[in-house]
Symmetry: C4
Subunit: 253 residues, 4 copies
């Protein structure tokens, strides 16, 4: 079989779309953020990616129907603004080769569509619950640096110390070194202990400025409060927080 | 060498056969079930699959003759009914790539033979001994859903929680997403603690309805009782049951 | 680079040679046996195999000169007897793919040279020190079975229980299932606790009958006695024997 | 994507350059040594190597700009001396295949440029702090042996016992067995407990003789003293030294 099978469901004509990549990772905030956007903007699924680089696993819906583990691409046509394209999915590539191949494929698709910019979303694990999470950035070039700073993204020296591992970093890295595209990674601060809607929310606040969307974040605010109530109780009850399990959040950032 | 070597032993003309896949897995019940069927229906071996995706291992028979670890395909021609094809073997593919390549190959063969449907058999580990195991299902489409429900297969919401991992899930997933074939996975409940003929039996009871076979299950019933006697004693003696070791039952479900 | 690089050093014309494969494994006895044979028969190196399937490692000789980890092939022309070819090396392939590719390559070379038979040598770990180790066998076909029985090889039912893992098994398995060559595996009993010249000796005693060599085994007898003296003392001193570490003997049998 | 992408930044005409390879490894001394040389000789970056064989990781500089994990090649044209080429990078290949492919590529480039010799730099972990580290050698041929001995490199019998693992060994091994190039590995003694400028310094002292450079080592001397002050205090305070973590220094030697 082909190592990657690209199933085109729709082939819309898009005008210099902005590409946004949000896959499972630290605090799962990249994925939560883009799924919220897909839902609120009623984005349309255009492509499925079935591949050996994802686990041999199917998921079962409430009726008993399955879908195979995959990545998918959604789009939204907009008037007088760049169109939007979002890449998300069940998993990141599970091997180094898979990480590179899938990130490269995403950028090939972005190049074909003459994408105007690529944003990747990820979490920055700070190991404790943060009340007012910042959004940190990393960029391909100085022009993008200024764009992000104008949107309130911060660039503290030496953070994140180990760089960025996984697709959020690699898509940015390949965009910079191989595709020579303008790209940035937005990292929301998160405890990293659980799926974190608060971190997703601050990502979306920043992203909204960057790609000119106007999405009501109230539902995400409510989900954040629910989580915070639970974790607040846990803290009062003196329960010790454990570092996140690999199973919860995926290995890659 | 080729990564997969397909040795055709016989090339029968089959009429829209039903494909049944039962490989080693949880409780080993898929494999026990299809091996019982192969034996009782005197099915004929038509294809051997030798491949790098299986362990570098030979098995020795009582005389001292060996066979290499492989997967094999058996068939049974039937009058006024769809012919039967069964896929089984010593192991599932040991890597993610191997899982995909071997599942894809099975479906390519099914497509070539114009298979009418594909059933995969697996175990659903419930972590305790079950007196009356249910058969759970997962399907490619609504029509298949109705077929399975009519045969008594159940579809409890949210079970199995993590979806289906391994070839039982992947063959179904690729059938659905890539080959657009009608397919289903039947999962027999099993403790998952040992090779479980009771789970295999309930799978065969259900499968018999689906593919119109009439196989005497008495031997399987006897093997189940023997096992239950042993495990019953173990429980009386207060021995604690341990979760299954990876070595006993294979990693994939 | 090519995944396997075959460097031909000499290209002798060989007459239906017998192929003997002895690579590192349980008790290292296959390798000790063939290295002894290469030395005593003054066999000539004809081929080096450099490959990604072996560790990225060089060894340094007493002078400071290096050789890269590899497998090598030696030959011996004989009058009125089949010529001999021996395959040995620093390691077995370190991955499943490597195991298959290297075993397949050996059989391709055997086929090209019209080998009359293939013998693989390995150890059978019995977990305790054996005074009079047996040589167990496993074969491709009934004719080979009779040949081995005539040479004193035993075929106890159900031994080795798990079959044969690694190149000693795989070369036999691929010879049987893919190349349709006459092949056998000879397994010398060994504790598996250390490099075991006694096990190598009994392998050579049996092999000498099978391939009509007449090699003085005295040096091997002396090395065995030295080892047995040491291990005898260890037992008297009540030292507990530990199972062999992966590092000592290689992973595969 | 291509498994290895070679980005040529400059294509200078070089005259029989000496190739020096210093990648992360034991005590990190190979990398420290060549980075010092690149800096002091103001060497020019000519090639970037982006590849699936390195981790999916980007690094962020103080401004917020990223670079993808990669290997790079630098050169220095010299008058009346062989030109210099240095290979270094963020990581060694992370898999066996990656180790071979990247080492092979380096030698292909060396061959294209008609390199006069190849030196690889690595550490020899002695497990304790060494006041006057020696430089050990391993070579492709006797002529190179004499050259190294003349430069004070030592060749103690049986050291390093397990040979050389990783790119420092493999580049030498492939140069010897496949490319038939004159090559050597220089190993500086190091505790292996931390990034060790003292070990890098003795490597550079030796290398300077071999490739006729004249680099002021004072900064490296100062860094060594700082480290030694810290580790000296640690010893006085009776702190136990731990073996190096995989994360600090990379897996391969």
């Amino acid at each position: 079989m082909e190592k990657i099978i690209v199933n085109k469901i729709k082939s819309p004509r898009l005008s210099n779309p902005v590409f946004i990549v949000g896959l499972p990772g630290i605090g799962n905030i990249g994925k939560i953020a883009v799924e919220y956007l897909i839902d609120k903007l009623k984005m349309i699924r255009m492509t499925d990616i079935v591949t050996q680089y994802l686990p041999p696993q199917v998921f079962i819906n409430e009726e008993g129907l399955i879908h195979l583990a995959k990545n998918s691409i959604y789009y939204k046509k907009r008037i007088n603004k760049n169109d939007l394209v979002i890449v998300t999915g069940d998993f990141q590539g599970t091997t180094q080769e898979g990480q590179y191949e899938l990130s490269y494929l995403i950028l090939q698709l972005a190049e074909e569509m003459k994408a105007s910019a690529v944003y990747t979303l990820g979490g920055y694990s700070v190991g404790k619950i943060v009340e007012h999470p910042r959004v940190l950035g990393a960029v391909s070039d100085r022009k993008m640096l200024e764009v992000l700073k104008a949107a309130g993204v911060v660039f503290p020296k030496g953070e994140p110390g180990g760089g960025i591992v996984g697709s959020a970093g690699l898509v940015l890295g390949l965009a910079t070194e191989v595709f020579e595209m303008s790209a940035a990674c937005l990292m929301g601060e998160t405890s990293g202990y659980f799926a974190d809607p608060r971190g997703a929310m601050v990502l979306l606040e920043t992203l909204s400025k960057l790609v000119s969307t106007d999405v009501d974040l109230q539902e995400l605010e409510e989900r954040s409060k629910q989580i915070e109530e639970i974790t607040g109780k846990m803290q009062q009850e003196g329960m010790q927080q454990k570092p996140p399990g690999k199973d919860d959040l995926g290995y890659f950032g």
